[in-house]
Symmetry: C2
Subunit: 484 residues, 2 copies
């Protein structure tokens, strides 16, 4: 599918669908939507359309379908794999204004929300009700539920509470031909195939979610947060293995390396030990009574791995500071370097030291700085490669390094992505972990929903369809699933 | 697809695939495979084939595919929705002999097993390692992992630990054209669409799982089991609501009504209170320290709902007796009645008293006995309707009652199945909870894997394809996903 501007007819249809004022086409307006959190990959959208309801989304998608023009949904644009980048002049369907909470059923612990709702705002809406929405990406203050659904987002508390797919009970979806369908519901699956689970993490290639049934999780009675300081990443990794081996499942188990600690410290002055090789941020939650004992055991695991120091946050204030350090880590890196590249491969915990070593060596070989802050408990790496976007040689080196990191992950029997998605960034690596048969199977599943590859083309799976590879037009429309 | 015997050519191909001795075709041999745990629905298989390896399964399926003959996988045949009934003279692929544990990776907590492995045997294989396989259907002593995968089985501990799909990280699958594919792997998903999650619960309509990557769960440090006795089901239901409302998540929260209690008691003499309206079996697990407090709180909830008595199992011996009562409940019902019908709809917990009342009324209206033993914590009902298969009028009444039960579930905004699957039993109800668009979407997904409806036809979703509805032959073969 070649990059092409929307036809005047399509633009007219879009304006009729959402109103003149909600369609942006000028280059300075479109510039804002050239990339998401993955700043290296950019593309200019054909247009940006602000939607306010399911009906508007359906009308916009129908217009694109009739014009055989691609589209891509976008929430806050915080994604890190280029999932929201508008390839082939796609029309950006901006859902940020669809941010209502339509239902909040506290008794059955479920909320019906629109896709543009900011993740953290759902938890805020439950304030005082002892409930929260569990998936907590570091960007939860700005990322949207719809984006989380597309990428099956996780967060530090994924270790105990699971990723987005474990917290979505049902969806209302606009299919790529403009029809509206419902998968699951307020009580989840129940019969038929699990299309909700299939849609979550499909990176916008099956259509656009317009309503989300989100599960609400009871708040733990007590939370304890520990800070453990280690001479090296290896020692910290050993502590992680000890904790997991004892069958302890912390709410969160985060590893932060020296580079990140120093960056955060020089910015926020939280009193982090800047001489440490690595620190572990360990959160335990549950009933008050059991928690002291559990904390004791976790601290014993840290000492067994020869930590330099391990202590509990003295009070809620310090606990929040520790988490601020973690959640601001990526931001702090911005003080070290104008740009960074982050991966999120998942590897067996037992291979942590080995793979982290390979990543470090790769960065050094390319003369770049590698920093690590990641979900150690579930082996979900977040190696950052720091570079200067303005220096072509560094960009090239960063890309090479990125390639070597993914190779190290694959060699360790790991997976390309834990929570950021494949997007367009890791697309060409898919054929290294999947056979052509597997990929073709995925294509066939995709074509059930999007036979013409109009929904976020060029993402998630390598489509290998001629109109994508050779830039031809998509095939003629297939009849809709049901004769209308 | 009409009922038809396998052609001599197909039988020859099957014998070549697995050997003469592993193909059964005589009527007395086939008789054994006429039904599964749902005894009302029977059909005679075209043949029964015992398989011992992925290669044999692939060869058998390929032979069926080339002969355009349907097939259905079968494990222990304990399913309760008729999922393993061989419609249209399907060839039964009996996996009971594929029961090896191929890998037991304790460090990364995952096992690679064959589909015929008995559920409980995986947990037994972990004895002394403080790990277990969490999904625990009441039939776990005989049901197979492969069957659990097909039906996405749950069990009493589903409330805290989730159903089968939450414990399966990857699959090796023989597709309906005989090709072997892998979904996910020892570390789970990672990239691409979640075909593992899609396959689990597809009731054999996508192909046959030949290897399963099963997650192993750490054993809790301590387990406490409480028995609470209530004057009525309503009071017991209120206690359930109180427990859940306080954010307490027991490992299991089972409701057993008077009829079941009496049946169990008259058989096993466990000292259950036969005058009770209902009892709750509540299991709590976790760290020793926190658990006493938690037990206190749960007991307070029971008292708040005016229980007659609530106590902890005195020792492990009594605890096992309580669970024996629960797990033998269905068996005990066999002493009350020659046959019973069991449903497993899921309803919002808040509607428990109302729906149970409607079920009771329906049974009385039809002059039948209704008994209840179910997963109250997650609203997963298991209403049993007792009848005598030898009395046609009772069979008819039972079927009418079954219809009214599912209607009550649907009216309460519930779901047709929590863990037993749709099978052929609930097939005709699918169109009451799903629109034609939804069903057509599911058909299209199915056709990605099984375009000719040869894999367990007539199950899970109403296919509405002419060769099923009008009994025509399936269409000509479509090219395989990849040119071979």
């Amino acid at each position: 599918m070649p990059t092409e501007k929307p036809t005047p007819a399509l633009l007219t249809a879009l304006r009729e669908a959402v109103g003149e004022a909600n369609v942006q086409t000028s280059s300075d307006e479109l510039f804002v939507y050239e990339c998401d959190g993955l700043t290296l990959d950019t593309a200019t959208p054909g247009a940006v359309v602000f939607v306010h309801s399911t009906e508007e989304v359906a009308a916009v998608v129908r217009a694109c379908h009739e014009a055989s023009h691609p589209f891509v949904a976008r929430g806050a644009g915080t994604g890190l794999s280029g999932g929201a980048v508008a390839l082939h002049g796609a029309v950006v369907v901006e859902t940020a204004r669809m941010k209502r909470i339509l239902e909040l059923d506290l008794e059955n612990r479920v909320a019906l929300v629109e896709p543009g709702l900011v993740n953290l705002h759902l938890t805020r809406a439950c304030a005082g009700k002892h409930l929260h929405y569990a998936p907590d990406p570091s960007s939860q203050g700005s990322c949207t539920i719809g984006g989380n659904v597309a990428e099956n987002s996780g967060g530090p508390h994924t270790l105990k509470y699971g990723v987005t797919v474990n917290h979505v009970l049902g969806l209302e979806v606009v299919l790529p031909d403009g029809r509206v369908m419902e998968f699951g519901g307020p009580h989840g699956r129940g019969a038929g195939y699990d299309l909700t689970g299939l849609f979550v993490g499909s990176e916008g290639t099956f259509g656009i979610a317009t309503k989300v049934w989100a599960k609400l999780t009871p708040n733990p009675e007590t939370v304890k947060t520990l800070l453990a300081v280690f001479p090296s990443i290896d020692a910290a990794s050993r502590a992680v293995s000890h904790v997991i081996a004892r069958g302890i499942v912390p709410a969160a188990l985060e590893l932060i390396d020296r580079t990140i600690v120093r960056a955060v410290e020089s910015w926020l002055h939280l009193g982090f030990p800047t001489d440490a090789g690595a620190v572990l941020l360990i959160e335990l939650d549950g009933l008050r009574d059991g928690l002291d004992l559990l904390a004791e055991r976790v601290m014993a695991c840290c000492r067994l791995a020869e930590c330099l120091e391990v202590r509990q946050a003295r009070d809620e204030k310090e606990r929040l500071l520790l988490w601020k350090a973690r959640k601001q880590a990526f931001g702090a890196v911005g003080r070290l370097s104008p740009s960074y590249y982050v991966q999120d491969g998942v590897i067996p915990r037992s291979r942590l030291p080995e793979v982290l070593g390979r990543i470090q060596a790769s960065a050094e070989r390319h003369g770049l700085i590698n920093a690590n802050v990641f979900h150690a408990g579930d082996g979900n790496l977040h190696p950052l490669i720091l570079f200067d976007e303005r220096v072509p040689a560094q960009v090239e080196a960063a890309l090479k390094c990125n390639e070597e990191i993914l190779s190290a992950v694959i060699d360790a029997g790991g997976m390309l992505s834990g929570e950021h998605g494949i997007g367009l960034e890791k697309l060409r690596f898919m054929s290294r972990v999947f056979g052509e048969d597997d990929l073709e199977g995925m294509r066939r599943v995709r074509e059930v929903f999007d036979p013409r590859y109009l929904a976020n083309p060029g993402k998630a799976i390598p489509s290998r369809r001629c109109w994508e590879v050779k830039g031809h037009k998509p095939p003629a429309m297939r009849p809709p699933m049901r004769k209308q």
